[in-house]
Symmetry: C2
Subunit: 355 residues, 2 copies
């Protein structure tokens, strides 16, 4: 399968409040080297994609606060889209798709979040190639992650009949997308063998995407079309500023994936690689995120000092200890999801400097 | 009761390893302001005593490492004794007592640890005055702390018959000193009404003390006598260096209090005041030792940042979180006694800089 017409879009948003105090409004998750690889999550996303497409086929959509750091972290990036304000994933991906569609009619667009961790790059490559082959037929393709267990932290994709798409032997029709399930339901899903995790990776022809959008979200489509028409003209910035705030804030799952799947228009290809969205410290711990200088006395868990100081944990199992120069979080793996309350409280008490 | 002949001795030793990382070898517990009063524990000890005696009747015994900081914290102190190496409390107190005895025959000497917290100074005063009255009769007096509960962290003193000492109406004979008991035994003690906590406060005539020492620890007595004889001469420093290492390392409880109590030579006066030796973070927590900038989300305990940063504790009860500029401790109140393992481990792995 040729990837000549393939373009990658990286929506780089989201605060990652459950990773406070590592992740901050001004320095969100995707701009951080959370895995200790020496590259940030955004840079690792770039590294995975640059083996598939040339640099000018990679596009990043981010906010004005983060745009300078994004450009700095990705010096080869030429396709930076700055959204004036966050409107969820559909406007972000739709903007890039609409502009790409005008520049490169018949292009195939894939979206890949900026803050995910993937362990097997060649398996990722294979899945993307199958997705592109599926998208070429006019279907919306998604990459479904083979579940490691009955996680309740992710949405699931149910696969139906095997399709017969050239160069995409493992593609199946999507029966349904389901939101994060409870634990019992998740167990059923995983045992059934026909469910995979929804990693938000979608591959589609740009005209397919825009066609669905025109039908299902006509107001949003019209706005994006106006902005895209002006994008490569001197009126571009003014049109963006004028129209963007009126766009419907909606996720691509709700705008396209779910309704189109009910029409039989979505296919899933299996992603057989280690994957995580590093949603909280329990996820980071699973990847092994402790500092070197930790003294454990009758204790275990995740302990990390960004400022290089020594941490001692005494008599605490499944501890989460994260120290930055200006703040400190102490919790347990079990309470990892509650961490998002901390920046919310700090905001309320006027400590925006720490959020 | 006149306090004219009364001298106070403050043994200022002990590392306070259970209060790591606040307490360090180079900056032990007594040199710290642990209670947030604005004064260190040593300074608070001085403040309590200076209302009873003039500055030149207060003596501090400490090691060479801490002597400069002791003098700096107590600028009015004229009686600084520097012990070349730690030999436990009996040599420390005995050295001061032997020198005081030569300078002021018939003096009464009281020992008060440098790292205790006392909440009611006038009740402390009253107890010391009774102790001095008892000591004037030739008995060894101790101040027994009225127990707040069946603590297993302290030794106990059992009081017997009421004595009839002028100016010491509440003095009783000591039946026995007992080491830290188990919880059941401690409960019996407290319920009986005749036991008090041993705070290591002893008041005795210097000649009484030296007489007991000559009888019970003749080698130690002879050494102290040699040092004291030379103390106020040009040979003082040389004699100290030559003799000190040979002195028996022993606590005053074992050397004097216990054996003399069996002979009927010790009396106890009640100390009816809030008292704590701040032995660990559970004790510090009981006094309320958290920083202002702590966000508790479904959690409680002690959280303290010496560097003024914000701490968030999520989903952890009875937490102990102590952050200094160079280190961090996370544990629980229940494990407070285990904290001493941390400096021991740090030492073993060559991080003496943090001990």
């Amino acid at each position: 399968m040729s990837l000549e017409s393939f373009h990658a879009v990286i929506p780089a948003g989201g605060a990652g409040t459950r990773l406070w105090p590592l992740s901050r409004a001004s320095r969100p998750k995707f701009l951080l080297d959370l895995t200790g690889s020496g590259r940030t999550l955004l840079q690792e996303t770039w590294d995975r994609l640059i083996t598939l497409v040339p640099a000018d086929h990679i596009h990043v959509v981010t906010g004005p606060t983060h745009a300078p750091l994004v450009q700095q972290q990705l010096p080869e990036l030429t396709g930076l889209f700055v959204e004036p304000s966050p409107r969820d994933s559909m406007p972000a991906i739709g903007l890039a798709a609409a502009v790409i569609d005008r520049r490169h009619p018949g292009a195939i667009v894939g979206s890949f979040a900026a803050d995910q961790v993937i362990s097997d790059v060649s398996a990722f490559d294979a899945a993307v190639r199958e997705g592109v082959a599926v998208a070429a037929t006019g279907l919306v393709a998604t990459i479904g992650i083979e579940p490691r267990g009955p996680s309740t932290a992710f949405g699931y994709i149910e696969a139906g009949e095997l399709l017969s798409v050239a160069d995409a032997p493992s593609a199946r029709a999507v029966t349904q997308f389901v939101e994060k399930p409870d634990e019992l339901t998740a167990s059923h899903y995983v045992r059934s063998g026909s469910f995979s995790w929804n990693a938000g990776m979608f591959v589609t022809r740009s005209d397919t995407l825009l066609g669905h959008l025109a039908r299902l979200q006509p107001h949003l489509h019209a706005g994006l079309d106006r902005i895209a028409a002006a994008w490569d003209t001197p009126d571009g910035p003014a049109e963006l500023q004028a129209t963007w705030p009126s766009l419907t804030p909606i996720a691509i799952d709700h705008a396209i994936a779910e309704p189109v799947s009910l029409e039989g228009g979505v296919a899933v290809v299996p992603g057989v690689f280690g994957w995580d969205d590093l949603g909280d410290f329990a996820a980071l711990h699973a990847l092994g995120g402790s500092s070197a200088d930790v003294v454990w006395v009758d204790g275990d868990g995740l302990a990390r000092a960004e400022d290089g100081t020594v941490i001692a944990v005494v008599g605490l199992r499944d501890a989460v200890v994260v120290r930055t120069a200006d703040a400190l979080l102490v919790t347990t793996l079990e309470h990892a999801q509650m961490v998002k309350d901390v920046p919310a409280i700090l905001k309320r008490i006027g400590r925006d400097d720490l959020v």
